[in-house]
Symmetry: C2
Subunit: 343 residues, 2 copies
């Protein structure tokens, strides 16, 4: 089992994923290993179901059977999980008070977005995107029943430069035994704003941004896509539900259609304008609703879920890693103007 | 002039470097632009002094003149600076209270580590490394006189994968008008520990780590090199001065020799064991000693400077960007065992 460790000076937990442990040699051919990846055997392709752990969920054609062909979206546990199922772990503190550890319990699943190796979210039909969104919701509703999992993080790495180790279209869902630092920071800001001004800071921001328009990329009935005022990276994007909602798992049927439309529109724009860049996206949401009251330091669950997209165009380097401060060569107003669909 | 903007939800400032602004097309050939970089004209090579802004410091052979050949280490302002000199800026808050901006004042210098295009820190002789360390100190002592520069960040990006845009050996020094978030977080932890236990948390940690030995990579009279207990990345390293010191600029002549020896030893080990990986390193130190009292939220200047090295072997991806939580496939004890010079 992997282990969580705390950097008490930086205030950050890390996961030491022992099962994945490697020798220095394993890092050498990093640039080359995936060159011919498209010709290699792919465990995520239809017909190779036996090469993954048994599926935990799938959207299938009528009559098809689990772990057999006939699926449209399929969810399996990660074969090399960063975290593994277990009960609430205790924090072990060393005698000298300097070293904190915790068992690496959690969930690590792979959402295989399509039976076909080629293709990607931007190319899928809207009704297929809706099925993927549906799958995200389904897995979250299931996993969050276990209250030892304090936070559910859904993310996608597209392309080798974005950290994807397999090119078959997929996203990942990780449930962690603590609420991550970045989420805690945002929860603190949004809870404080709510207390002071009686309003959700995200709702307020969306209202202002829709009025201003200079950072608006796209909107439909239920979603809007903005470049954030203070983006870390060029062409960074945020998709917000216009209505207040803390958790992604609360998404309604009509909102799913609206989200599929918004996501498709901006992914197609990114692909076109930036020549098919690698990207990461992830959902930010409130901590597990079933573990309410477990948040440290009186942080509340007041939040407004959203999806953040980072195209990989520049690299974080010694300045960013050292300071947590980012240099971005493109203003969000310029980025929004480029990405806004021409009317 | 570039602009600082604050993400009020994430609590993070970013620099929108307008002078560097690019069109989407500029991002396309990212993978290719540097392929033949070694054949291209290099403004940092000896003989090309006229192609950089005038030097602000150099260690030169006797009789050679500024901005002429004959130097060993040379410092010039960055031609495309992220921040530019100026007086203390005011924070401008928008009427709705959501958007905070500040003029991007600061310093951005390039330390050209050698007149020769080829070669790198790991290859340099110890007395050349001492000259580079000497140059770092010299520039810091000069820049920190201006108290509007609240923090001085020295860093190095080696290799394209580590964010270097030119391969000629160089490091960079950036002075910022605010104390960066990551430094503030560490200042808070170390000030709190001092208050509670009457001791420097770094001094305490070094004491324990030297006793334990399992994460110790190297030590000499004045420095030790450790893999941190909770590293974000495989083979991440920290170089600590054994004696307590808040600022790098306080380094003594004898410590410079000791640091050169420690740095050379571990860079040579990294190069050998990990096949010459790209890397970032940076110095963490207390805020500008001339701006004491300007720190927000009563944060003190209690700190212990050190140097952090991150070999680029894995990529931060959707999990890391979204959560600030890291998955590391190599334990620091394993990494230290590989990097420890065999006796």
């Amino acid at each position: 089992m992997s282990e969580l460790r705390k950097d008490i000076i930086g205030g950050r937990w890390v996961i030491i994923a022992i099962e994945r442990s490697k020798r220095p040699d394993d890092f050498r051919p990093a640039q080359e290993t995936q060159k011919n990846e498209s010709q290699k055997f792919c465990p995520f392709c239809e017909g190779n179901e036996i090469k993954t752990p048994p599926e935990v969920f799938a959207i299938r054609r009528k009559g098809s059977k689990p772990d057999q062909p006939g699926w449209l979206v399929r969810v399996v546990p990660n074969k090399f999980p960063a975290l593994s199922p277990g009960l609430t772990p205790k924090i072990e503190k060393s005698e000298d008070g300097l070293f904190f550890r915790m068992e690496g319990i959690g969930v690590h699943e792979v959402i295989i977005e399509s039976p076909n190796h080629k293709g990607e979210l931007a190319d899928f039909r809207l009704n297929h995107l809706e099925k993927i969104i549906d799958t995200y919701q389904n897995r979250m509703l299931e996993i969050q029943k276990e209250k030892q999992y304090k936070y559910l993080h859904l993310f996608k790495n597209k392309g080798r430069e974005a950290g994807a180790s397999l090119s078959h279209p997929h996203s990942q869902l990780v449930a962690t035994p603590i609420v991550p630092k970045r989420i805690l920071e945002e929860l603190r800001s949004s809870s404080q704003f709510k207390e002071r001004f009686g309003q959700c800071i995200f709702c307020r921001l969306i209202e202002e941004e829709l009025k201003k328009g200079e950072r608006l990329v796209y909107q439909n009935d239920h979603f809007c896509v903005l470049t954030p005022f203070a983006p870390r990276f060029p062409f960074e994007l945020r998709l917000y539900p216009k209505g207040h909602s803390t958790w992604f798992s609360e998404i309604t049927e009509i909102e799913k259609k609206s989200l599929a439309q918004a996501l498709k529109t901006v992914l197609v724009r990114l692909k076109k304008i930036l020549s098919d860049p690698p990207y990461n996206f992830y959902i930010h949401q409130g901590p597990n609703p079933h573990s309410i009251g477990d948040c440290p330091n009186g942080v509340e669950h007041y939040y407004h879920w959203h999806l953040e997209i980072i195209p990989i165009l520049t690299k974080a380097a010694g300045f960013e890693w050292g300071t947590g401060f980012y240099i971005n060569p493109v203003s969000p107003e310029t980025a929004a103007a480029f990405l806004r669909p021409k009317s």
